[in-house]
């Protein structure tokens, strides 16, 4: 009887004790690192290999199609993609499905261009290299050579220059994004007369080389909602755009059918997906160490064990306290 009472008390425990337990489980591993190895799965590797095959003549589009509520999962993916693309000089278009996503895209650019941290890039604004445009510098290599010849030097530890309008076009947000994708199928500049910083998109070399989505080699949509499916429906089905997903874990299981059907080339699912990409980047020599997502995997490991333990304990408490019989009696079984 006393054992049954114990389990009954367990079942009726104040849920704030459970909250405290989870808080402890999440905080402690940050100080007691395990650093367990991670083997990236093939869905993430597909995206990495695709971007790794791209270069200055190709183009990548990254959609910041999430808002701050899923920032912890999606933002590390975006930052990892930017680092990879910038290191390979792959021109990047950045768009946003939601108004709040544009701000997060801007924050990602700020993080990747923070030259007080080693391994980052220097973003040269559109106005800053205007004199070189006027002189007729053509091609990325000649622009960079002219820029360096003019006396500009990379801060110590920085990986390279990113010229806005050549390596990067921060297009930003537009409403009714499914129409924007449709419109970009014909002309990107028609949907974005100016970029998020007010620069004229039509004058940018990146647009002159990649006028529409048919000339974009891969679009990666980072989404916390079904916004990602919009890219398949209005991009892949309409103009054959290659698409990859970077989605939250909650949604990731829903999109395996699209991988198998070939509608997307790969998928990063949740923090694990971002961690996989960081590991691949480090193995590929693009970063000297992994980032926040990989750091969080230790915590994820312990948290999962804790949740499984709670499920098991809860079930033991339920059956041992006789609740099962009581519920069955109440239901007249």
């Amino acid at each position: 009887m006393s054992a049954m009472n114990f389990w009954m008390k367990m079942l009726n425990i104040d849920r704030r004790w459970i909250f405290l337990a989870i808080a402890v489980v999440v905080i402690v591993p940050f100080f007691a690192r395990m650093g367990l190895p991670l083997i990236p799965n093939r869905e993430v590797r597909s995206i990495y290999d695709c971007i790794d095959s791209l270069g200055p003549r190709n183009a990548l589009m990254i959609g910041w199609d999430f808002d701050p509520s899923t920032d912890a999962e999606n933002q590390p993916m975006g930052i990892a993609l930017l680092r990879h693309a910038f290191a390979r000089h792959v021109p990047v278009f950045m768009t946003a499905y939601l108004p709040l996503g544009q701000g997060l895209a801007n924050m990602a650019l700020e993080q990747v261009s923070d030259t007080t941290v080693a391994g980052n890039f220097v973003i040269v604004p559109w106005d800053a290299w205007e004199p070189f445009r006027a002189q007729g510098a053509e091609g990325r290599d000649s622009l960079e050579a002219a820029w360096i010849a003019a006396g500009h030097r990379l801060p110590e530890g920085s990986r390279g220059w990113v010229f806005e309008g050549v390596d990067l076009a921060f297009l930003g947000y537009q409403p009714l994004f499914y129409l924007v994708i449709l419109g970009m199928g014909n002309s990107i500049a028609s949907q974005f007369p100016s970029d998020a910083n007010g620069n004229p998109v039509a004058e940018m070399p990146i647009i002159q080389a990649h006028k529409n989505l048919r000339q974009v080699d891969l679009a990666v949509t980072l989404a916390g909602s079904s916004a990602c499916v919009t890219w398949i429906v209005y991009g892949t089905a309409k103009v054959g755009l290659r698409v990859a997903f970077g989605v939250t874990a909650v949604m990731a299981t829903d999109y395996y059918p699209y991988i198998q059907s070939g509608q997307i080339i790969g998928m990063m699912g949740g923090l694990r997906g971002a961690a996989d990409y960081e590991v691949l980047e480090t193995q590929g020599g693009y970063t000297s160490s992994t980032g926040r997502a990989y750091r969080g995997m230790d915590v994820q490991s312990l948290a999962h064990l804790a949740i499984i333990l709670m499920v098991v304990l809860g079930n033991i408490a339920y059956f041992a306290s006789g609740m099962r019989k009581k519920t069955a009696l109440k239901a007249g079984r």
């Binding site: 459970i18 083997i39 509520s69 701000g103 230790d298 809860g314 339920y318």
Partner: protein, 214 residues
């Protein structure tokens, strides 16, 4: 005028754009280009509805000194201050929409942290639910929990300590039985979406007309 014209607009607009998809003629392409240019502009004005509704609601609470009326100020003041900071204040006194600035501060230091934190609270609730609600009461529920445990352990590095079979099994579950289940659901959703499209275009579904008088 009040119901028939909107229903006609819906039907004509819908049918024109379905037919447009199949016709590559220049006129058809022009119609499409005008549509992709104009529709976002029309939709941009819809924000007026959101702003107006929130303003009306909270202004009313402030006017009648509702129980929690000071909180309404916390909603209205940032809502109107942010456009002023971004669009009217010069950058020399912390205006504009770049950092450092008041607009950027309110977004990156108020909006983003609060919204991120609100959703992160779900971790605590799922832990509580795991203890109090997830019961293996039947064979199907037990199967669900077993699949969940395998996938959960397979997704984290600690699962590798038991051997590669665990993450491999987790991946197999995701790529095959999970795929089959989700495909069946997605097909149902897909058919539902198509049916809803047709119902709205042909005026069978009229719920969207409501709330605007008679």
């Amino acid at each position: 005028m009040k119901r028939t014209v909107p229903l006609m607009i819906t039907m004509v607009g819908g049918l024109v754009l379905i037919i447009q998809y199949f016709i590559p003629h220049q006129v058809s392409v022009s119609v499409f280009n005008y549509y992709t240019s104009w529709a976002p502009i029309v939709s941009g004005f819809a924000l007026i509805l959101g702003v107006g509704s929130i303003t009306r609601l909270h202004y009313h609470k402030i006017r009648i000194r509702d129980r929690n009326w000071p909180y309404s100020l916390a909603t209205l003041i940032p809502m109107y201050l942010m456009p002023v900071f971004a669009l009217l204040l010069p950058p020399s006194i912390w205006g504009g929409n770049q950092a450092p600035g008041l607009f950027d501060f309110m977004y990156t230091r108020i909006q983003v942290p609060i919204q991120s934190t609100m959703f992160s609270m779900l971790a605590f609730y799922i832990a509580s639910a795991a203890f109090r609600a997830f019961r293996a009461k039947s064979a199907l529920a037990t199967l669900l929990l077993i699949a969940a445990v395998i996938v959960m352990l397979g997704q984290v590095p600690i699962g590798d300590l038991a051997g590669r079979w665990l993450p491999n099994l987790g991946q197999w579950i995701l790529r095959y039985p999970n795929l089959a289940a989700k495909r069946a659901i997605e097909l149902g959703v897909g058919f539902g979406v198509l049916a809803t499209c047709l119902k709205i275009i042909f005026g069978v579904e009229r719920g969207w007309l409501g709330g605007a008088g008679e």
